[in-house]
């Protein structure tokens, strides 16, 4: 260990960049094989499991000539490995087939609905992080106290409650009974004619265009599903924050800071939390990925026109191309977020660099 350290110090400028580049290379290779595996799994689900994949795509009631045409289009007369190769080539060129339900190419559909999901998951993650981190810090600082227990129970309930059920009850309470929030959907119908979004991220667009009425309306629509997803991310983030903080607070530099006479607040928020922030970045990224998954059920409750609703609608209509396309996209985003958070962790934490 010791000789390696000295060499690392003397030759640092040359060594660090190649180390980072090789790590990046490894990540790219890992991402590529994982994506290939994802596609193999979806290929297997779409083409091998169903007894007749053509029927699975067009439905049982399709006329015979349509089934035959689809069968030829899919190349079902070819051996499996050739079919897989064709599938890979199609996906590489962005071709996930055509949705039976919307008659658009699946990729077009997904690009249209995905911003809504990202917007919702982002709002959820912001709510979760803004509330979850202080709660976790509080629980760690007051370890074993009533506050710690309360935070723990809040988190456990978050892990245990069915999201769609909580969403239904929240709708009854906050929309139907109290009238605090708007009805399910992304915006009031009135605004759909007056407001023209440019990017698909409505909140950003509306703020950019200075349409404050629209912003308020969008907010009234997103706040409930966003808060719901935020609760789930809070459960995870507060729990992890607590454990990271407990770890940091037991370190010697905290004792040193206390000995120097720093105030407790300064020690907690500036010294301990700053060090806990590095692994927290990973946790927040993972919870963001988790919310993309959680959005599937949330979107069906709140009629939120995102990827989750698209997948469940397609499921209900046996629109297999759309389901598999959505699955691949969510899986790919998942892989991307995981790798990014890993890279970020390595960049932020100097200790991981010299290894």
């Amino acid at each position: 260990m010791a000789p390696m350290d000295t060499s690392a110090v003397t030759r640092r400028p040359q060594r660090r960049v190649p180390a980072f580049a090789s790590a990046l290379m490894r990540f790219i290779v890992m991402a590529a094989t994982t994506l290939l595996g994802l596609l193999a799994v979806t290929f297997f689900i779409g083409r091998v499991i169903p007894i007749d994949p053509a029927l699975a795509i067009v439905g049982d009631r399709a006329p015979q000539h349509v089934v035959e045409r689809i069968r030829l289009e899919l190349g079902l007369d070819l051996p499996l490995y050739q079919q897989f190769w064709i599938y890979l080539k199609q996906v590489a060129s962005g071709d996930f087939g055509t949705s039976v339900l919307t008659t658009n190419p699946v990729l077009t559909d997904i690009l249209r609905v995905f911003p809504a999901t990202i917007e919702l998951a982002t709002v959820g993650t912001i709510i979760g992080a803004v509330l979850g981190i202080p709660l976790g810090v509080l629980a760690a600082v007051k370890r074993g106290s009533i506050a710690d227990q309360v935070v723990r129970v809040i988190g456990l309930v978050g892990y245990s409650v069915p999201i769609f059920w909580l969403g239904l009850l929240a709708l009854v309470l906050f929309y139907a009974k109290l009238g605090w929030v708007a009805y399910p959907g992304r915006m009031d119908i009135v605004y759909e004619y007056t407001f023209t979004p440019t990017t698909g991220f409505y909140l950003v667009d509306a703020i950019w265009q200075g349409e404050w009425d629209v912003v308020r309306d969008l907010f009234r629509h997103i706040i409930l599903p966003g808060a719901l997803l935020g609760y789930f991310s809070l459960a995870y983030i507060s729990r992890m924050t607590r454990s990271f903080m407990l770890n940091e607070l037991s370190q010697e530099y905290i004792v040193a800071a206390r000995a120097k006479g720093l105030s407790e607040a300064r020690i907690i928020w500036f010294h301990a939390l700053r060090n806990a922030a590095v692994p927290l970045v990973t946790v927040i990224a993972l919870s963001y990925a988790g919310l993309l998954e959680g959005s599937v059920l949330t979107e069906t409750i709140f009629a939120w026109p995102g990827l989750g609703l698209y997948i469940t609608n397609s499921l209900q209509n046996a629109d297999m191309n759309a389901v598999l396309g959505g699955t691949v996209v969510i899986g790919a985003v998942f892989v991307g977020i995981n790798l990014l958070s890993d890279l970020l962790y390595r960049t932020l934490d100097p200790r991981t660099r010299s290894r």
């Binding site: 094989t33 595996g37 994802l38 193999a40 979806t42 499991i49 129970v153 456990l156 999201i163 297999m320």
Partner: protein, 310 residues
């Protein structure tokens, strides 16, 4: 010294906590006692245990406990009665069926799902993980790549796609959840295996000529069990929630089966006026998954004091 040991009454507290167990059984029981004591100190964990025992009891005696038929309702007189109506403690649904009875019978489906998923997924994960960790080299690389691929899918989305291909139904839902559940178990089993792969007792068995198969089966797997059990218990809540989600989307158990998620879906139409139809099954799901989470947390703290409080 031995005089002191002999005065201790067998199975007493001192006997169990003895530093010098006289037999294997005493050592085993002593360890179990310590774990139990640690578990028992945690009130929330005990609450979780009580909830799960209650679930088992209810599932076993649903036929005796349920006041009404879970599948056949009284359409003429008992549609959508509120909770507390005479003879219907939790009210009735749109087909005049007693919600309490349906919840009681539904506990069997919940239990069926978690048990079957655990029985399918845990051994698969255990085998993949221990083989991967013990063999190392390219076997390890290949198995872990496969594990990573399955980990890359969000659970619910992969389960949805699988059920879409297999067709809706409770068997397919169980299969789909099992397929999405094994990768974390493989990771854990592999990590455990790696920690003692180089240890002396493994070398000793190798020198005695044991085959890799025997070493993995008899010496590696048993040591991975406790951390695996903790993880499976903690996962039970997630399994229940995924199953309920599939049921809610109409992909799990089919009507008229009293699956809790499907019950919420059928109550959704009346949620504004007859809130209880959708609310009650959700409470049941919440209580049971909370029970599994509390139990899993308590088990982890009791079996692995290092991680306690995290």
């Amino acid at each position: 010294m031995s005089v002191v040991e002999q005065t201790v009454k067998p199975y007493s507290r001192e006997w169990l906590l003895s530093d010098r167990p006289q037999s294997r059984r005493q050592a085993k029981l002593g360890r179990a006692y310590v774990v139990w004591r640690r578990f028992g100190e945690n009130r929330l964990a005990l609450l979780g245990l009580v909830i799960i025992l209650a679930l088992l009891f209810v599932a076993a005696f649903a036929g005796v406990l349920a006041p009404h038929d879970p599948l056949q309702g009284d359409l003429r007189n008992a549609r959508l009665l509120p909770p507390g109506a005479e003879g219907y403690l939790l009210g009735t649904d749109d087909q005049g069926r007693d919600i309490l009875s349906r919840l009681l019978y539904g506990s069997r489906l919940t239990l069926l799902v978690v048990v079957l998923v655990a029985v399918i997924a845990a051994p698969v994960g255990l085998i993949v993980g221990t083989v991967s960790g013990y063999a190392g080299g390219w076997i390890d690389a290949v198995l872990m790549r496969i594990t990573d691929i399955f980990l890359a899918f969000p659970k619910l989305v992969l389960a949805l796609a699988l059920v879409a291909a297999l067709g809706p139904g409770i068997e397919n839902a169980i299969l789909a959840i099992a397929v999405t559940s094994w990768p974390p178990y493989a990771r854990i089993a592999r990590a455990e295996t790696m920690t003692f792969r180089q240890s002396e007792f493994i070398s000793a068995v190798q020198l005695m000529g044991a085959s890799p198969f025997r070493i993995v089966m008899r010496h590696v797997m048993p040591l991975c069990l406790s951390s695996l059990i903790v993880r499976v218990t903690l996962d039970m809540a997630g399994i229940i929630l995924t199953a309920a989600g599939l049921g809610f989307l109409g992909l799990g158990a089919q009507p008229p089966l009293p699956e809790w998620g499907a019950m919420i879906a059928s109550g959704r139409r009346f949620i504004l006026d007859q809130w209880w139809v959708a609310a009650m099954p959700g409470i049941a799901i919440l209580i049971v998954s909370l029970g599994f989470n509390l139990l899993g947390d308590g088990l982890r703290d009791a079996l692995d004091p290092k991680e306690a409080g995290q």
